[in-house]
């Protein structure tokens, strides 16, 4: 698939909880960024506003721009939003008789504590489950049973199914149905038959089958996924269809591609049926963007950080490969779908700085002042000091130039609130206390990154750190140095991270088959499992206009040691089909991956190795124009120097004078030497003493540490 002839632009839009971002570019033109407020529930308005913002100054109307656009890629938080606001369909569940409570009892306490912080977990009396999306009263068990080999032990009782459908639709008034039977990922015949019966009896009801949306072992997580998809399915479908119609009406007649949580795009028509696929796609796009930037800069080991108003998020790319989450959750509901692992803590610019009411020990977040009332210094009514206020107090932010000068920060108010609520109770000066809080925030972030690198056998010193988001540039010089990363990159697109990632993504269809086979099974047995998947993938990509070199098929197999629970997705090195030597290599690769991930001595070989899941990732490579590079000039940043003021310098442990630069006036090749601050229209980058930041050909600021 490629952009249509004469249609120059590629447009990416990402709808987040607060803001909608747009990135657009064309061959030979600079990358343009736009931001607008999100507009739930009619998100499309915000999408068009963000595109208009990006096109500002181009002298072209949105409709004309869309008419000249060849590719429109899109990510949205609409499904997350449906779950968080509990505004999905009235949903029913049909399941195996005798196991009707699977969803509501959430594997025991699991659903009670999963998703809580450590403090929450330590206080069990105060905990509860989130109410199930399908209560027991809208769940019906029907006679049927399949065993662990996929053998039918008890045939499906179709009369009971008909009765269940009628009861749920007519009496309970559901307009969406989830179907999830035991072992259906081995044998989906019963679920498919129930799907047919629903379409026959109640054609207007939205249906999701577990064997289609999540054909993986584990009936609780599978049922939960199926229910989430049914619950949000119609909203997701209507959303995608509406956006598609609106774009067409505004002059765009190319394809609409929709981002998935695993970091790939799906054509709108297919995405519309997979609501769960859209969960957490914004952070996933961020990681994809980071990987793309890494490819441009020839880095393939990256710690991708994104710090916004409420959270600090981090994902890891190793050897160009992305980590996938093992037990993803949305709100407090489990689901199983391939999803890029992004870990977060409640530390963002809006995070409230407070002393523990009992111990008096200072802390940052997780409570947030959000965008409204926001930090005290915004003057929008915020009274609780936030991390952003601290940044102002340590000299990192310029009251006059924030957000391009659109808001004047009230330093006096920030100082007053911080002194009263933090510094004085700590018996410290405002500066001392602010520096202390800044250090606590940096330490928390260091600990989080430590958790997702060192604890997984990765050494941060081998990694490049990407600092995305409005607040990351303020802290990365400190936590990056403590982690000892090779270098820090603050990307030009730092403030529109997810939308930038959309530009870099390909169409990706994920397929999987669950089977347990010994790791030394004959290659033809494995190839036979893949054959139907490969055929389906090729047909699908062909229908989407991909042929030849534009198709990539990646095989990977989940393996584990016998009697062990940890599975490792192991790529098939040379793709498929496999021969017996390749099967042996796969097992060897698994062992190496396992030891790296779970530590030396963790391998348990006595009970052999098993393959448990066969995955196919089928990619349609989307063509795009290359991103514009500017030729580097000389190193002297003097023309961009706009002032000098005192800022916190970590090495000095105190405020000290530093140079202040304007990002817009920096040119590629310029080198800024710390201690220094670079103000961009949206973000601020702090260089600590001894750090030098160079602007590269893509206008990224690169800080070498190693």
């Amino acid at each position: 698939m490629s952009e249509r002839n004469g249609a120059r632009y590629v447009v990416a839009t990402d709808v987040g909880g607060t803001c909608t971002d747009a990135v657009l570019f064309a061959a030979g033109e600079p990358v343009r960024l736009g931001k607008a407020l999100s507009t739930p529930p009619d998100f499309a308005d915000g999408v068009l506003a963000a595109v208009a913002a990006a096109a500002e100054g181009m002298g072209i109307a949105t409709d004309a721009l869309l008419a000249e656009t060849g590719l429109f890629v899109h990510g949205s938080t609409v499904v997350d939003n449906t779950l968080l606001t509990r505004t999905g369909a009235s949903t029913g569940l049909i399941t195996t008789e005798g196991f009707e409570d699977t969803l509501t009892i959430t594997r025991g306490a699991y659903g009670r504590w999963a998703g809580l912080t450590e403090d929450g977990i330590k206080h069990p009396v105060a905990t509860d489950r989130a109410p199930a999306l399908v209560p027991g009263t809208r769940t019906r068990g029907v006679p049927e049973r399949v065993d662990y080999k996929g053998a039918v032990l008890r045939p499906l009782d179709e009369d009971a199914v008909r009765a269940a459908i009628c009861a749920l639709v007519e009496d309970a008034g559901v307009d969406a149905l989830a179907v999830s039977f035991l072992w259906s990922f081995y044998n989906d015949a019963h679920e498919r038959r129930v799907g047919d019966l629903i379409r026959e009896i109640a054609p207007s009801v939205y249906v999701t089958l577990s064997s289609e949306i999540a054909p993986v072992p584990g009936e609780y997580e599978r049922a939960s996924t199926t229910v989430i998809n049914a619950y949000a399915g119609r909203i997701a479908r209507d959303y995608v269809t509406t956006l598609q119609g609106l774009l067409k009406a505004r002059g765009y007649d190319g394809p609409l591609l929709v981002m998935q949580g695993y970091g790939g795009l799906l054509p709108a028509e297919e995405a519309a049926g997979r609501a769960v696929g859209m969960l957490e796609c914004g952070p996933a796009a961020g990681v994809i963007g980071s990987r793309h930037l890494g490819q441009l800069m020839e880095d393939d080991d990256i710690i991708a950080c994104d710090m916004g108003g409420t959270t600090f998020k981090v994902g890891v790319i190793q050897g160009g490969a992305i980590e996938y989450a093992r037990e993803p959750m949305v709100d407090r509901y489990h689901y199983v779908a391939p999803k890029i692992e992004v870990v977060s803590i409640g530390a963002g610019g809006g995070s409230i700085v407070a002393l523990d009411p009992v111990t008096g020990v200072p802390g940052v977040g997780p409570a947030s002042a959000g965008a409204r009332p926001g930090p005290v210094c915004y003057g929008l009514g915020g009274t609780e000091p936030t991390l952003t206020d601290v940044m102002l107090l340590v000299g990192y932010m310029d009251p006059g130039t924030f957000l391009g000068g659109t808001i004047t920060l009230d330093a006096q108010a920030a100082r007053h609130a911080f002194e009263e609520k933090v510094a004085r109770p700590l018996a410290m000066s405002v500066e001392e206390a602010a520096i202390g809080i800044y250090r606590i925030a940096a330490a928390q972030i260091t600990d989080l990154i430590h958790e997702i690198t060192v604890e997984r056998g990765l050494d941060p010193r081998d990694f490049v750190l990407h600092a995305f988001g409005g607040s990351c540039g303020l802290l990365c010089g400190v936590f990056g140095a403590e982690l000892g990363v090779k270098r820090i990159v603050v990307p030009h697109t730092a403030a529109v991270n997810a939308a930038f990632g959309l530009l870099a993504a390909d169409i990706v269809h994920e397929y999987s088959v669950t089977r347990t086979l010994p790791a030394d099974s004959p290659a033809e047995e494995i190839n036979a499992i893949y054959a139907p998947m490969v055929e389906r993938a090729r047909a699908q990509l062909a229908a989407e206009g991909f042929t030849g070199d534009a198709i990539a098929l990646d095989w990977s197999v989940d393996l584990r040691y016998g009697r062990q629970v940890h599975e490792v997705t192991t790529p098939v090195a040379d793709g498929g089909p496999m021969d017996d030597a390749a099967v042996a290599w796969l097992a060897a690769d698994f062992e190496a991956l396992y030891e790296r991930k779970f530590g030396k001595g963790s391998a348990y070989r006595a009970a052999g190795m098993e393959m448990t899941m066969f995955r196919l990732s089928a990619r349609g490579l989307v063509e795009r124009p290359p991103i514009e590079r500017s030729p580097p000039g000389d190193g002297d940043p003097a023309p961009a120097l706009i002032g000098r003021r005192d800022i916190f310098v970590e090495a000095a442990g105190a405020l000290a004078p530093a140079d202040i630069y304007d990002f817009e006036r920096l040119a590629p090749g310029n080198v800024v030497t710390g201690p220094a601050v670079i103000h961009t229209p949206i973000t601020t980058i702090v260089l600590q003493a001894g750090q030098a930041g160079r602007m590269d050909a893509y206008r990224n600021i690169v800080i070498e540490l190693g």
């Binding site: 008789e97 005798g98 196991f99 409570d101 509501t104 009892i105 594997r107 025991g108 306490a109 699991y110 009670r112 504590w113 450590e118 403090d119 977990i121 330590k122 206080h123 069990p124 009396v125 027991g136 009263t137 068990g141 006679p143 049973r145 065993d147 662990y148 080999k149 032990l153 008890r154 035991l182 072992p217 009936e219 997580e221 009992v358 111990t359 020990v361 200072p362 700590l426 202390g436 809080i437 250090r439 606590i440 330490a443 928390q444 600990d447 430590h450 958790e451 604890e455 009697r563 062990q564 629970v565 940890h566 991930k597 779970f598 530590g599 001595g601 963790s602 348990y604 006595a606 009970a607």
Partner: protein, 609 residues
């Protein structure tokens, strides 16, 4: 100490434990460790006192401290850098022999600065019965190997002779080796991170922060105790093993900022392995105490300082060697948990400010079924059915208990999927669900427990064996609070020849409840049994305790429970006095019914008569 550094160091200490726990789970790929979270890692100060307890099975936080102290006493002068010590002797520190502690000194600049300790329930310990729960044992000698302290690793080198000797005494030695490796790895990670912390902040500031952290917990806990009323509260637990009835009696006294747990009057030690040792009782009441009274206080030695315990020697809560203890964790320790939960809850509910923290007992029986035999792939399979971690929440003073909602002493347990168990053992589930009417009635209802039934499926030997260590089949162990009733007792049934094959009639291979099972149901509660042929095992766990007067429960909630199938209409009418109909509460009938029940109450005699 400077509050900023203190805050950072405290956060880092949390992370040290968390990292060690992840390492432990990673290396030990076993289901009980990973699904059940039946593990613990904590940090201890140089003298062996608890510095920071992790979230795991909380009985162990204090017992591992005793393990550290025992090693310090026993190996004085012989504790070197890179050593790891093993102890699993219940008369020294451990809860039972299957729960092995590995404790490791942490040195900095040649000086011993701290200890890390962890435990897992190992795959096997060489007891009479595979898996370590050994109902047939009548003394500690038949409960597997037991060491009061042995050096397993010396200067970062495994002592092969010791390891080989240990592994020579267990079934599935490779699995036990992996369990031990996982604990060594966890201790190594804890040590590395702790040393890194000291190197960044300096030995003295870290030591000062650790001391401050312990003092802070003590100060905060004493302050909390001061805020609670003085008094003396009693609790009593019964359990029944093979016709023996045991009592655990607890009187908890609070005076000022101190608490005493007195078990005087508890039964003499049993012939069966449900006894527990002194340190197990000590850990047994701390397990609920930490989350109930110290939910916002760091769990460390500071919390221990205001507490004392009286446990009579030779009793079921302080047995004398060589009494058997292999089932202590689901036996007497569980009763200590429950009794402590009740006394603490009574104290909390005597305070306006803290009443919201009170709870009736959760998951009182902690029923456990251990399976062993060959699985469908002809591999030896030993393991616990993880429904034991399913639990049932006790009612709170402001909310119902959580159906199949876990337990207090292991805040993050969970049970495996049916599909996971069916893939691991040669069994098929007939049903698994929350059991209506098991939660104790009350103004706030206790959480319902779980019920399930299994048959063998594809077993190469025609079946598999299971260990039942039942107690709480005759007694409700999840006591109610403030007028709430205790939860229902648990039940085990061996359903003989569920599928009546002789004449082809009455054949029901797919019963979805005990009532639908056609075979003869034999009540069992103790011992090793086969699950073979067409027999079935039915298990029902106990429900959580209720809170408050059932007649005070809002009728709409009772109606909702009946509609959701959590409470039967019969119980709604008889116990709650609420008459439910398909269309909603019958208000008039309910009013009349409740009035009649209240009148009946007033017709009962005064207790003194």
């Amino acid at each position: 100490m400077d509050p900023i550094t203190f805050s950072i160091i405290r956060h880092r200490l949390f992370r040290v434990i968390d990292e060690a726990v992840i390492t432990l789970k990673h290396v030990s790929g076993s289901a009980i460790t990973n699904e059940g979270h039946d593990l613990m890692v904590s940090l201890y100060r140089a003298d062996g006192s608890l510095l920071m307890g992790g979230v795991g099975f909380l009985h162990h936080l204090t017992s591992a401290a005793e393990a550290c102290k025992a090693v310090i006493r026993r190996f004085e002068g012989d504790i070197g850098e890179g050593d790891v010590f093993l102890t699993n002797c219940p008369y020294t520190a451990a809860l039972h022999t299957s729960d092995i502690y590995l404790v490791a000194p942490i040195h900095h600049d040649g000086r011993l600065v701290a200890w890390s300790a962890c435990f897992v329930h190992v795959y096997d310990i060489g007891a009479m019965v595979p898996g370590g729960f050994s109902p047939d044992s009548r003394d500690i000698f038949t409960e597997g190997f037991s060491s009061p302290g042995i050096k397993l690793v010396e200067g970062d080198t495994m002592r092969r002779d010791v390891m080989d000797t240990l592994l020579n005494m267990v079934r599935a030695p490779e699995m036990v080796a992996l369990d031990l490796s996982s604990m060594i790895a966890a201790n190594n990670v804890a040590r590395e991170r702790m040393v890194a912390l000291i190197e960044k902040y300096g030995a003295e500031p870290v030591d000062e922060a650790c001391a401050a952290l312990v003092d802070q917990s003590e100060t905060l806990f004493r302050k909390r105790l001061q805020e609670l009323p003085d008094g003396r509260w009693e609790a009593r637990q019964y359990f029944d093993i093979e016709g023996e009835t045991c009592r655990v009696l607890l009187a908890m006294t609070k005076e000022g900022d101190e608490l005493t747990f007195d078990f005087t009057g508890s039964s003499p030690q049993s012939h069966y392995g449900i006894n527990c040792t002194y340190w197990a009782s000590w850990g047994g009441f701390f397990a609920p105490l930490f989350p109930l009274l110290c939910y916002d206080i760091t769990w460390n030695d500071g919390v221990l300082r205001p507490i004392s315990m009286i446990a009579p020697e030779g009793s079921v809560v302080n047995c004398t060697r060589p009494a058997p203890v292999s089932l202590a964790t689901v036996g007497a320790i569980q009763s200590v948990n429950n009794a402590a939960c009740t006394c603490i809850a009574k104290m909390l509910s005597a305070s306006e400010a803290y009443a919201k923290e009170a709870t009736a007992v959760w998951h009182g029986s902690h029923f456990a079924i251990f399976m062993f035999g060959l699985n469908q792939r002809r591999q030896e399979a030993i393991g616990i059915l993880t429904e034991t971690f399913g639990g049932a929440g006790g009612a709170r003073t402001w909310a119902d208990g959580i159906d199949v909602g876990g337990e207090i002493p292991n805040p993050i347990g969970r049970m495996a999927n049916v599909e996971t168990t069916e893939a691991t053992f040669p069994v098929r589930y007939l049903f698994r669900r929350a059991r209506p009417d098991t939660g104790g009635p009350g103004r706030w209802r206790g959480g319902n427990g779980i019920e399930f039934a299994l048959v063998q499926h594809d077993s190469p030997e025609g079946g598999i064996n299971y260990v039942v260590s039942g107690k709480g089949t005759e007694f409700s162990m999840s006591e109610g609070l403030g007028g709430g009733y205790a939860g229902a007792p648990c039940a085990y049934r061996w359903v003989h020849n569920n599928r009546a094959r002789e004449d082809g009639r009455n054949v029901n291979p797919f019963p979805t409840s005990l009532d639908e099972m056609t075979g003869e149901a034999e009540t069992i509660s103790w011992g090793v049994f086969p699950l073979k042929g067409d027999d079935a095992l039915y298990v029902r766990s106990d429900g959580g305790g209720g809170f408050g007067d059932p007649l005070e429960r809002e009728p709409a909630r009772v109606q909702a429970d009946v509609q959701a199938g959590a409470v039967s209409a019969e119980v709604a009418a008889r116990v709650y006095g609420v008459v439910t109909t398909a269309g909603g509460v019958d208000e008039d009938a309910t009013r009349a019914r409740r009035e009649a029940l209240r009148q009946a109450r007033l017709a009962t005699p005064v207790a003194a008569e």
